[in-house]
Structure formats: structure tokens, C-alpha cells
Symmetry: C2
């Protein structure tokens, strides 16, 4: 993998001096077009061994191009706000919008590699983490980003020489730390980890460029030319090419029997039953969310459903049981300008709750495979990949001790008509029926298919869908409340059990030592 | 101040049951109009003594209105990201956009009151903090926000009774903490602090409503009615009324002599002088920003100037000396949708640097009193108040150990013409001269007046303007670099001196004790 980067690449001074001015002009011009177009973002990863020229390269990019449109993220230890979210949250919040270049020193590769080298995780876990990275980068590229990954390499000898040279020069000696030397001592282990990571993530979408770091002139010209060609090529693609999907199309079952039809929508509760159950379940939820262990987990609740199915009413029955300081309700409508300039999941990542808190999404990322699919707002290739992207997203949440609860509130077509008519007759503006509601209704069957595909493809053991029979509002609200409490309770119980077991193990091992 | 809130206000059950349904309907309808209009935000402060119904009120608002458009901020201890910015940063980042209601439990009043009660600050410092709050709230209101402030009061006896009742009930006993009892013991001191804060901040723009907290029915109806009337009245005002300014207008000096004319634009450096000075000053800046003490301060640099005055070139000479991980350059163009939905300073607050970092603004909040004034994008009353608002903003930065450095890059009208023509002849797209550049040039004298007013009104000892004679680019860049380093150096020296003195005092007091 690194063979070619140990050949001793060199560029002579004359060539360098001749080439650099042209390259800088060309880079500046490409950047100008890129900023003016605001069609995509550039994400540059700067990785490699200590002393191989990473920070010099970042400074160079800022010098050669217009630093006003470049953001550099030197990712150190996460802040407390970052630690309370899944590990990728800090990278999501730092993603540049269209028309800006984001440079990451210390990236999503750093921590998996360190964990592996220092034996915090085994090879299988390491590969698993690396595999997730390929998913993430593929999503970025599919969303239009240009991802350019540079790896600066030095042989073990080369690295030792370089660190010594840096140490000798009073202008750079502060850059060499004891950590650099201790890492050099582990060169082999790093080498092995790096090679695995680079090999597994050198994809067609986002290949690595391994650059020999010994000769600054060679390094500079190489980096500059790769970046220039990458930007030029991407700029030439007039828009994101609307690829035709070559996947087998999703068709409704040929016997026309599907999940939604299997629901018994006639289930209902009497007023008396409802009031008793409501009080009971709200008290239960209130207690669960005040459990001391609750401060160690987060909860994300997704509400999707037919128009007029009663999402708002169900949400209010949940929030009625919560401390208002601990939750946020996020209504999802059309994305803002800033949100449109980022990958579509960005607007949801930014609202993820801290530990001990809940976020309730009134409509959600599932818009991608519901309304955007049915209305044709996004091409089939794009919504087809969303199933996997969403599963990845929710998997990250679940792994970070977030309970993900997803509700589909289903009503029959007749019941919807009844509610629309009822609403038309009330005087309250907030219940106004819009033309859009009527239009959506015309596509009832298409939405049904989309919902069935959604449930089939995104109902996972870590984030299952719950279908809520909602023709009777009372029945629906109680089922929502009960399901939510069940899920939180199960999570807290599992934690309690785990803690007990750990404590048991500890006292056992203490006993054994005596 | 609290007399009327100790009268024992009560509402009987029958009245309450009759009034509540009407009130809820009306509130929901007002909220619907408010969300649809997206013309302003509602900011609700919920303050008062422990046990007087603050959290009940917040829950009530969420129950009576649509919680999807309400954000509740229970402000606890600041996170590390928050501690590294001025104290108001966490409130700025939590400000709701137009069309949303933000409820603050624990607000910008909480910490000044606690500091005063627990003798961390004296009365003068307390008043100073409170005075700043009135400025902040006035700015919010002037920017269009509806600010509604509720204070829930109980007499000392009433509070004791209430805490005991809460403690007795198993459903609420968890809410009473030892802290509540220890605060009750300090009732008088809190009473005095609260009264001062409320009196000083009960302004015509944002008055306090003191609500007796003993009777829940009285409390609920009072809060609901005040909020309803406030929203209704604000909604009726079709748009923000374009008030005519009654202030004496800003006129240019009658003898036509002004600051910019007093600049000696002929100052220049030879190429050799420049190169030596550049190397020297960049090395100096590099060392200063790597000083261990630098990690305790932040730096904000503002670049304003005539078109083609060389802002970009000066910025690149600064960034060339910095570690790319420690700075951000923020180019300011037209605000995004999300930024327009907040007070105009919001978009600058969000980019404030953490400790040990620099933010360079290429154009800035001064747009308000330059382009927006000259082009008539905002009415005179609005830009007239911006001078004070900006001084307040920069004062907060300076108090939080942020070095604020502001440059005006001045060139002569002839020199600008020369540069425009030169640019028209180069092939580089990035130097394209737009129609707007020519239009701005036509208003040269108006911009000159605006700049002179700006310098006169916003050059403070904590954030002075430096005018940069920029007809010669070399001279300009060196003056920029030198000024920046001078300011950082002065700040670091002052810190070092203070530390030494403190250490000296410590060892003296140790010696004294022997």
C-alpha cells in the first residue's frame, strides 16, 4: 500500500518555482467558480504519520486559496456537549455547507485507529468501525460532496529523521512532543492499522491519495494538482447527474395484501377506560423519565402518519407527562436554505438530544422515502439508498444508548374523509384543510405502498416501527404512551441488570483475591 | 413591588372551569396565526421564588398551546463550550427564530441575582449587570421580539407552606431539595435582590408581570390572559412599525474636514522593507499565538474598508502566520433565511471563537451602519440604535478576555479607480468588478460620512478602530499585522503582570502568616 510512497519522490527547485504560480492561479480560479456555484461542498481529510507534513499542507491550502471560504477543523478531544451525542455528531455539526471547503485534521478515522492500536478494541470491532466509515463517506458523495482524502506517509527511518530535524530547529521544536516519539516506537502497529483502514476505505467514490511526505516540494505540488483536478472535474458536471436506477423496482405485493390492511382499525377504548389508562400511563412515563438511570440515556421519538391521524394529540399526551425542561418537539416542514446546503440528514443530527433528554420529531427523516418518493421530489436512486442510510443513522443512535421509538399512525381512508369534513366545519384556523391535504389523499395507494416498504426496510431490532391503529383517538394515544414507556423501561432494566452483574463480578473478584 | 402579590388572590373552581376552555381555544388560535405569520419570536421568561409555580406554568403553556412550536430552555450550569464564550452566548444560541416561542426557566437574571445574594459581587457590580440586561432586552424588542416576563411570588410564609405541601405529597416530594430550604432561609436577601432587579428592568418595552403563586387557578388564568393579550396585540401590528426617527440627524462637519481626510495615504514601504517587516511581524504573531497564556484569551478581528482596499490580502498575511486549526475566517455576505429570522447580531454571536482561537470577520456587524444605512436597507431609527448595541456587544467580548481588533482599510477615490481598471483587465474571474462596485462608488461621500460616524461612535478603549492607510498595499499589510500583534501582546502582558502580582500577594500573605 505504501510502497510507492517510500521511493524517495523529489521535485527540484526550478520545477517547483515554475509550477507553483500557475497552480495557485488555477486553484484560486477553481475555488472562485466553486464558491459562486454553491452546488456542493468539498471535504478534505488530512491524515498520516506525525511529521509527514499534515499541518504544513493545511497551511498551504489556506495560503494558496482564499481562506475566507475554507474551514479547518482540528479535531481534538470531544467537548462535553459532543460526548453526550453519538461519536459522529461532532463531524456532522462541522460539515461545510455548499460552496465551502472543510478541512479535517483528525477525522472520523483517528479514534478507531487509536482504539485499535492501543488494544481497546479487537480487529473485528475495528473493521466494523471502518465499514461504517465507508457508508458515511458514500452517503456524503451520493449527497453531492466532493471528498478528497490525503494520507501523508513516511518510512520509519524517514519519520525518525524528520522528527529530529524538527526538534533541532528552534522555530519548529515546539511541534515535537513526547507523544510523537512514543508513537514512533509503535510504528509497526500503526502501520498495520493504517494499512487496513486505508485499504478498506479506498473506495471508488472517495479514494485515498497516499503522498510521500519527505520532500515538501513534491508534497505541495502533488496535493495542489490532485485537489485542482478533483475540483475542476466536479465543477464540469453541470448538476448532480440524475442517475437512472438500475435496481429492481419496489412493487406492491401481487395479491394486494399488505401490512396496513392487516391492522384492526376497529379497536377502541371507552371514555372511562381511556381516562384511567391515561392517568396510569402518564404517571408511569413521568416516573421512568425521573429515574436516576434515565440521565444516562436519550430518547428519540418519531411520529409519522396519515394526514389528520392525530400526531399532534398523541405528542401532547406524551409531553403532558414530562418535565418541560427535558424535551424538545421538532416539527419538520420544508428545509431551510442552510439545511438544503447540507446532506439531508444534517437537519436531524442537529436536534439530537443530550443525555437525560427526549426529542420528539413530528415528521422526520422518513419524509425522504414517503413524501419525497411519492411526489417525485427526489429521484429513485436517491430514495432507494435512504433506507440503508437511515438504518445506519438509527444504529448510531442505538449504540449511543438512545432509545429510538417510531410510530406510524394509521387511519382508514373513510375515517380521514370524516375528519377532513369535520375540520372544514370547525371555526379554528389551525384545523384548516389545505389543497395539499386533498392532493395527498388522491395518492392514498401510493403512500400505502411507500409506508409498507418503509416498515419492511427500516424496522430493525434496535429501532422497530410500531403501527398505531388510530381510527379511535383514545386507543391510539394509549398505545403510543404504553409503547414508549415499555421501550424506555426495557432499556433502563437492561442497564440495571448490567450494572448489577458488573458489581457482582467486582465483588466476586474482590472475594477471589482475599 | 410585591405587595399586590401577597393579597391572597384566588379564583373559584366554577369560574376557572368556565374560563379555561375559552382561553385555551383563543391561545391556540393566536399561536396558529403567529406560526403562520413568522414575523417575530416570543420570548417568555419564567422567574420567581421556589415553589411558586414556575415549572407548573411551563407545563401549562405546553399543554394549552401547540408544543411543536415551543422551545423550553431550562438553563442549568453552562457546558464547557459555553464557558469559553461570554456569558450571554448561551442565551443567544437559544434564541427562538421568528414563529417560535422560547421559554426560559433560568434566564439572564439568574446568575447576577445569585452572585449578588451570595456576595460574589457588590451592589454596584450587580446594578451594572442588571443595566446590561435592560440594554439586551431593549435590543430584542427593537428587533421585533415579543418579550413577556413572569415573576412568580410567594410571601415567606407562603413559600414555607408550599414547600411543606410539596414534600408531603409522594408525587411531588422529589421536587423539594435541600437547596430550596437553604434558599428559604435567605428569603430576605433574595427578596432584596429580586426587588432591585425587577424594578430596574420593568421597562416600557418589557415589563415584569408579578403573579401571586399560591393559588394555581389564579396563576393559570392570569398567565394565560396576559400572554394571549400580548400576542394578539403584537399580531395586530401589521408589520414592525417603521418609526420615524426623532433624534437630531447625523450631519457631516460643516467645514468638511473629517477623519478620513486627515489620513496620509501616501505612506508606503519599499519591497525590501516590506519583505523584512513581513517576516519579522509574522514570526512575532506566530510566537504570540503559541504563548501558553494565549490559550486563556480569544481574538476577534474585524475587517472593513472600501471596495478593492485589500482586505483579502491583509487577511492572508495574518493567516499565513497562524496554525490553521486555531482560526476561522468568516466572510459576511447577505444573511441566510435562518439568520434573518433572528436579531441581526445573532449571526455574529454564533461564530465567536473559543479560548485560544481567533475569528477573522471579512466585513462584519458594521454592515448595519455602513451599507444598510447608506443604501437605506434599514430605517434610521434602527441603524441609529446599532451604535449602542454594537458597543454593548464588543464590551461583552472584551470583558470575557477577547481582544477585539477593528480595521478600516482606506484608499483614495483615485486609487480605487486605478484598481478597478486594473481588475477589469486581468483575466481572473475572482477579480471581476460588478455593477454593484460601481454603484457603491457613486455614493463615495455618503460612505465617507458613515465611516466617520462609525469610528466616532464605536471606537472605544476596549475595542478601538485602527484606520489603515491602504493606497500602498505593503504599508497597509504591515500596519495591520503590527497592530494586531501589539494588541495581543498588550493583553498577554497585562495577564502576566496580574498573575505575578497575585502570586506576589499570595507569597506575601503566606509570609505574613508565619
Amino acid at each position: 500500500m505504501f510502497e510507492s510512497a517510500e521511493l524517495g519522490h523529489k521535485i527540484d527547485k526550478a520545477t517547483h518555482e515554475r509550477e507553483v504560480p500557475k497552480l495557485r492561479e488555477a486553484l484560486l480560479d477553481a475555488q472562485f467558480d466553486f464558491v459562486a456555484a454553491r452546488k456542493f461542498q468539498v471535504i478534505i481529510l488530512v491524515g498520516g504519520v506525525d511529521g509527514a507534513g499534515r499541518s504544513e499542507t493545511v497551511s498551504l491550502l489556506n495560503e494558496w486559496m482564499d481562506p475566507r471560504h475554507i474551514e479547518v477543523h482540528g479535531m481534538g478531544d470531544p467537548s462535553d456537549e459532543e460526548r453526550e451525542r453519538p461519536p459522529m455528531w461532532r463531524f456532522w455539526r462541522a460539515l461545510p455547507p455548499d460552496g465551502r471547503i472543510g478541512v479535517f485534521m483528525g477525522s472520523w478515522y483517528t479514534w478507531p485507529i487509536l482504539d485499535y492500536v492501543y488494544d481497546n478494541i479487537d480487529q473485528a470491532a475495528f473493521h466494523d468501525k471502518i465499514e461504517r466509515i465507508t457508508h458515511f463517506e458514500k452517503m456524503l458523495v451520493d449527497e453531492g460532496a466532493l471528498v478528497v482524502k490525503f494520507w501523508f506517509h513516511l518510512s520509519r527511518d524517514g519519520q525518525r529523521k524528520r522528527l529530529k530535524a524538527l526538534e533541532k530547529d528552534p522555530r519548529s521544536c515546539w511541534r515535537v512532543t513526547p507523544r510523537d516519539w512514543s508513537r514512533l516506537a509503535m510504528y509497526e502497529k500503526f502501520h498495520e492499522a493504517d494499512e487496513q483502514a486505508l485499504r478498506m476505505t479506498s473506495t471508488a467514490d472517495a479514494p485515498w491519495y497516499i503522498v510521500e511526505g519527505a520532500d515538501p516540494r513534491y508534497r505541495e505540488l502533488t496535493v495542489g494538482k490532485i485537489l485542482l483536478e478533483a475540483m475542476r472535474r466536479r465543477l464540469k458536471q453541470k448538476a448532480k447527474p440524475a442517475k437512472a436506477s438500475s435496481a429492481p423496482p419496489l412493487l406492491p405485493p401481487i395479491d394486494n395484501l399488505h401490512l396496513l390492511k392487516s391492522l384492526d382499525l376497529s379497536q377502541s377504548l371507552s371514555k372511562k377506560q381511556y381516562e384511567r389508562a391515561l392517568e396510569e400511563q402518564q404517571a408511569r412515563l413521568a416516573l421512568l423519565t425521573r429515574d436516576p438511570l434515565f440521565s444516562e440515556i436519550s430518547v428519540v421519538v418519531v411520529f409519522e402518519g396519515n394526514d389528520a391521524a392525530g400526531k399532534g394529540g398523541s405528542i401532547r399526551r406524551i409531553t403532558g407527562a414530562l418535565d418541560a425542561r427535558n424535551y424538545q418537539v421538532i416539527p419538520i416542514a420544508a428545509p431551510s436554505e442552510e439545511e438544503r446546503a447540507h446532506p439531508y440528514l444534517w437537519r436531524f443530527w442537529r436536534h439530537l438530544p443530550r443525555r437525560g433528554r427526549l426529542t420528539l420529531f413530528d415528521r422526520s427523516w422518513y419524509g425522504r422515502i414517503l413524501v419525497e418518493r411519492v411526489e417525485g421530489f427526489c429521484p429513485e436512486v436517491d430514495w432507494m439508498r435512504a433506507y440503508g442510510e437511515i438504518n445506519d443513522f438509527e444504529d448510531q443512535l442505538a449504540r449511543h444508548d438512545t432509545v429510538v421509538v417510531k410510530f406510524w399512525l394509521a387511519i382508514s381512508k373513510d375515517e380521514q374523509m370524516r375528519r377532513f369534513k369535520e375540520r372544514e366545519q370547525t371555526g379554528f384556523k389551525r384545523y384548516k384543510i389545505t389543497d395539499e391535504d386533498w392532493r395527498n389523499r388522491e395518492k392514498w395507494e401510493q403512500y400505502e405502498s411507500a409506508v409498507c416498504d418503509m416498515v419492511e426496510r427500516t424496522s430493525t431490532d434496535y429501532a422497530p416501527w410500531t403501527l398505531i391503529e388510530s381510527n379511535d383517538k383514545r386507543f391510539a394515544r394509549i398505545k403510543v404512551l404504553t409503547t414508549l414507556s415499555d421501550r424506555i423501561e426495557a432499556c433502563l432494566d437492561a442497564r440495571r441488570k448490567k450494572m448489577k452483574k458488573q458489581n457482582g463480578d467486582k465483588s466476586k473478584s474482590r472475594a477471589g483475591r482475599k
